[in-house]
Symmetry: D2
Subunit: 239 residues, 4 copies
Amino acid sequence: MSALRVTVWNEFRHEQNAKHPASTIYPNGIHAVIAEGLAQQGYDVRTATLDQPEHGLTDQVLADTDVLTWWGHAAHGEVADALVEKVYKRVHEGMGLIVLHSAHFSKIFRKLMGTSCDLKWREAADKELIWIVQPGHPIAEGLPECIEIGDEEMYGEFFDIPQPDELVMVSWFSGGEVFRSGCCYTRGRGKVFYFRPGHESYPTYFNEHVRRVIANGVRWAAPSNSATPVFGNTKPRIS
Amino acid sequence: MSALRVTVWNEFRHEQNAKHPASTIYPNGIHAVIAEGLAQQGYDVRTATLDQPEHGLTDQVLADTDVLTWWGHAAHGEVADALVEKVYKRVHEGMGLIVLHSAHFSKIFRKLMGTSCDLKWREAADKELIWIVQPGHPIAEGLPECIEIGDEEMYGEFFDIPQPDELVMVSWFSGGEVFRSGCCYTRGRGKVFYFRPGHESYPTYFNEHVRRVIANGVRWAAPSNSATPVFGNTKPRIS
Amino acid sequence: MSALRVTVWNEFRHEQNAKHPASTIYPNGIHAVIAEGLAQQGYDVRTATLDQPEHGLTDQVLADTDVLTWWGHAAHGEVADALVEKVYKRVHEGMGLIVLHSAHFSKIFRKLMGTSCDLKWREAADKELIWIVQPGHPIAEGLPECIEIGDEEMYGEFFDIPQPDELVMVSWFSGGEVFRSGCCYTRGRGKVFYFRPGHESYPTYFNEHVRRVIANGVRWAAPSNSATPVFGNTKPRIS
Amino acid sequence: MSALRVTVWNEFRHEQNAKHPASTIYPNGIHAVIAEGLAQQGYDVRTATLDQPEHGLTDQVLADTDVLTWWGHAAHGEVADALVEKVYKRVHEGMGLIVLHSAHFSKIFRKLMGTSCDLKWREAADKELIWIVQPGHPIAEGLPECIEIGDEEMYGEFFDIPQPDELVMVSWFSGGEVFRSGCCYTRGRGKVFYFRPGHESYPTYFNEHVRRVIANGVRWAAPSNSATPVFGNTKPRIS
């Protein structure tokens, strides 16, 4: 079996702003660090960023991608609608999609969810504890029952998403909030996993457990090679 | 408790075409027959159609609607995008939405689902048997375990929808197909119920059990008067 | 429409122990306070307790009960297995069941769930914040987005239950834990709602929001008058 | 990665009755044919049957089993309750369980579901069409959109199970019934997959697609190596 082909997409703006903490924590971009973690799992990993031609996601790249991870924050509006349509189509064909942190507000996630995906937030170095609420799920593989993250941006409920098909994790924040942090969906033949942590001002993507979740999510979201559904006018099966 | 305010929306084109069977079966429009059935339940019912100004759904009408039912088929593309946005917003605020038959392809349903909502179909007077698979659900109230419909258009799987939060009914068709016929979702604070039968060439909306399902769906989808979610930057609950 | 008939069942042991704080907080029993709250909603409420003949749940009482609420803690093992079977059968026939707090370990809840229903706990007057994660759900009717409870026993994940059909609330605890606090299930034609708070050493059942949740839960769990399912050897529908 | 260890359990009574068609179709037992199909996938397969000592499922065998498949029909009552408890415990620890056809009425499935698992049935060589309703699910891997089975026993709704966490397949029967045929659950850390076909009087387990479903089900139900949940009295995470 050949390795899963993963494309790590990143907005890559904060990290190029020398005044932003992200430029110190992720000097080569968040994508470089996420990609490094995934490569260690043996996946075939490439990266793509907003400011590349076609945002780095040409038709060929998309066609060659089994699972796409998506990080965006300040420039969701700059992602071309035509690309969003292409990604949407690829997810429906079976490409997995891992939606990270502030990408809750990305065009593609909102389009796939059919909701606003809005939430509460606070940048105040809250402590975050991520509890596993479905320990038998493949995305929980190899994890402790609780992932502690020292400092993180808070995200709080109500998180305006459809009820997840499978809820794998719930976060606790020191300021008093909770959040559905690991959420699984199916759209068409594709699987979508939303994973909460990863604010650009903290070194969250160096955390080994966070890396493990993303790697597990990629494996869970890998395409299944089932028959392409047939739609439209059809003759009876039985006569 | 005052009566639920229901608005029955209909494309109302087939019925005005003298050459179409719908003009004989539903001379005053499908909406008139659906509205009649709902009024018998004591709801406060009004109707609206595509060719009315603002498609009959002014801001005031939408604001005064607890549950909206939607039937469309040939003219989904003519529904103004701005109206779709308004309905979408109202659903998220809590307005219930009952999506009927060929409205699976309506703009509003596809936008709320995040999928293509495509399916197999056949116009060949198939026999349809609708089986209740969740008999304790409020939408099953007063129904037999199986609803028989003499002649109907066939809809077959794969139906490209998100897995329903609650699957209440599954249809059997004489040509060999099955279909998830009664599907419940929540979007924001609003509830969405998709119900399959109701091709314009058959008198399906006169069927007492079909009427009962729609009436039950309206009751199930009625708004809950819960707190409006607060989004955005928030202070800690705990300090 | 006649009023819903609710039976409030309570173990009623802690409250009769003069050395236990419950004897001061709930001198007439937790059931008296829960029943008072439900009666204010217009329900037809009676109570039953462990040490009554047949635990207060005769066949006639069960037959006349639309929704049963259950509180137990120290004496789950003393509930007769024969009664558990009767309650199980009534739930499958459509009787609603509201499972409160430490009744997570009751025989009836474990039997209906098919899991151990085990969890973490701590008696240390944690602060509890109960967040609504499905604001459109009927059980959220009339509630704020967060219910604050001053002192409560902590319950923490992993809570060994099947994934809820609908997850309505998630709790935050000051010690760092989260908990799925409001969980909806269907079993047969009956509905089951688990609601977390209510340790006997705290006046939780006097809290107006807690009372509202229980009252909403009762309404949600009310039986639907659908056809009794037919099982066994059956002739073809179609010949 | 070492091969998944699968134990194929079978009641193995019909096949030893020379007057029963099963004795001709499955002379070495249904388990032998299922095991053959799974061995072809590279799994490490063994078998066990009711009339072996300890029903063939010693503590050691259970400890060494990653996924257990279960076929039973006429002798559910003869399975020792103590063994059912052991299997239940192993499922909660993470062992996968594939429940086949008439094992819907097995003690272990009913205990895990918390419902009667009753259904309609008919032995009349109905035609069965199994439609995939979640084509992106790993259990649909490599399958056509519809599996045709020439002659089968009919199972019809209402199937008294909890709503599946994931519904993968729905069956159509020539007599007019439908059935939720491929149903996924999680219990504790274990995964449970119910798959409908496989009446002993028909050669269903030689069907390549049926074999594929069982093989995919085994892979899906494989244990995840996550942390063993900690239950009971616990100290605060945060102080």
